[in-house]
Amino acid sequence: MARTLAEKVWSDHVVRHAEGEPDLLFIDLHLVHEVTSAQAFDGLRETQRIVRRPDLTLATEDHNVPTIDIDKPIADPISRAQVDALRNNCAEFGVPIYSLGNAEQGIVHVVGPQLGLTQPGMTVVCGDSHTSTHGAFGALAFGIGTSEVEHVLATQTLPLKPFKTMAITVNGALPEGVTAKDLILAVITKIGTGGGQGYVLEYRGEAIRALSMEARMTICNMSIEAGARAGMIAPDETTFDYLNGRDHAPKGADWDAAVAYWRTLPSDADAKFDAEVVIDASELSPFVTWGTNPGQGAPLSDVVPTPEDFADPAAREAATKALAYMGLTAGTPLKSIAVDTVFLGSCTNGRIEDLRAAADIVRGRKVADGVRFMVVPGSVRVRLEAMAEGLDKVFLEAGAEWREAGCSMCLAMNPDKLIPGERSASTSNRNFEGRQGPGGRTHLVSPQVAAATAIRGTLSAPADLITNAS
């Protein structure tokens, strides 16, 4: 029978299937961080269980580590306790860990792929919803809760019900200056924050095939914002080229065997999806959010919407509430909205290509007066790579802050926060109320829009700078 990518990966991992019960699925890679693991390790201790496969488990510190002065002890005692707990747990249970100060430390979803640990056809889990990022490689990757973390630690398996599948077919080519971030924001606005619920999304079509691995990660990363369990993209030459030679990628005969297997993974031509959405990439333009969930977005060239224009009463009410929280008036051109802070980073857009794209825009320009521009690389490797290319200087000369790696202002668990009422343009993935600090207001944007916004001080596309630069 014809099968989709997700179905193939699923069936290759079923340890046990029994009627009326969830399938027991083997987990190839379990990523761990400080926020969602302490209670799971506690559970193991309480029940005197061990970590079954420490060699398929990897921990890193990311969510609440500081992004300055990392050589000093973490100032916030609670953050410190959480990081210490992770270090102690990893030592006790034999789990490899990349701690603050290590060259491989960084955001868990940046670290896995750059080490070559995330590969096609794998099952990847982490106690973090943006695990969907790893689906860019054709892996089935999804976020789990802490008791599932405990389950995987103890058994290297998870009991799961099969997901439904949805194809997101993106035809045509993205216009110049339109990025993967704009595409995924547009997808979420189109299908809604609940549109992907119960589904694994498979992104396919010409526009997806043309994307780099990093851009594909940006897309898969935000699948969760459409309510989906996971997002996937079939592996192809772009995937293999990215992996070849990375630390944990297969070598020699193993590489050939792996590639041969990976080539069998793409969805069969006649495979049936439970749902399909078709998008024309050529109609897209830079996209931003105006509201308090990632589905409340619009093309940057638009105005703040009028709640009365929403046909659905729930959407209308949500829009009214969002505009009040965001301090926005219907009809205001989005490009006239002034920001206080620009945040470039996160597992959505904190990779080297993102930094390069933003640096290309700020090079030789100055950050607008009164705007704080924070650049936070997704990992130490990204940071070092950027510095080797001189990007740190580009940002610093423009007046931006060049920081250490971590989640930072994506969720404001460390000291990097908005103050109440402050407004940001952020390359992260969530614009929920208070996400970047209590009372903070977030507009989700691409790295290019973030950079242009930092220069102009109001939400802007790179094209707006070019017209103004003369």
């Binding site: 398929l56 924050t193 619920q197």
Partner: protein, 195 residues
């Protein structure tokens, strides 16, 4: 895990859709490393508002939350379930949940009952008019009963069985350790290890 068959208690109406886990428990509380004591964190931002439903005298002691659609969206933090349970909630009733939240709830023994939105509206009306109404949730019969209203709800069969039996997930999986061993032995050699 405690066995769950029938639960009867007071219910609170939460007239909001898309209640994401950042609202259920703000990120600042995720720094704790214990598994209990999250009751004060539940809806922490909203509870600063004296008008918020859980700050009303009539909702004190509630054990059932009746919420709008898409409850529990956003971050996968299981703390959202702990906070709801530590506060005293045993059952959530809504027309739709985020998947991860729902999965987390099932594991902890928090019942997430799915009813039609009309049933949610009817329940809201009943408990707003008579906050002392004892709402009965019967997991065996899959029914919710409040005053004159009786409606059936949906719950995943497997989760229902586990809740009724009070079974722990890891223990269940450990029964199949031989099967896991043989699966592991047959994995391709090109799969990566972390060290």
């Amino acid at each position: 895990m405690e066995k769950f068959t029938v639960h009867t208690g007071k219910a609170a109406p939460l007239r909001a859709s898309n209640v994401d886990t950042d609202q259920i428990i703000p990120a600042e509380y995720l720094k704790r490393i214990t598994r209990h004591g999250f009751e004060d964190a539940l809806f922490a931002a909203w509870r600063k508002d004296p008008e918020f439903i859980l700050n009303q005298p009539q909702t004190q002691g509630v054990t059932i939350l009746v919420a709008g659609p898409d409850f529990g969206t956003g971050s996968s933090r299981e703390h959202a379930v702990w906070a709801l349970m530590d506060y005293g909630f045993k059952v959530i009733i809504s027309s739709r949940y985020a998947d991860i939240f729902r999965g987390n709830s099932g594991k902890q023994g928090l019942l997430t009952a799915v009813v039609d939105q009309e049933v949610v509206e009817a329940l809201w009306q009943i408990i707003e008019e008579a906050p002392e109404t004892q709402v009965k949730v019967d997991l065996e019969a899959r029914t919710v009963n409040a005053g004159e209203l009786t409606a059936s709800f949906e719950v995943d069969d497997y989760v229902r069985w586990r809740l009724i039996e009070g079974l722990d997930d890891i223990g269940l999986t450990m029964r199949h350790v031989e099967t896991i061993n043989s699966f592991e032995a047959a994995r391709p050699t090109f799969k990566p290890v972390t060290r």
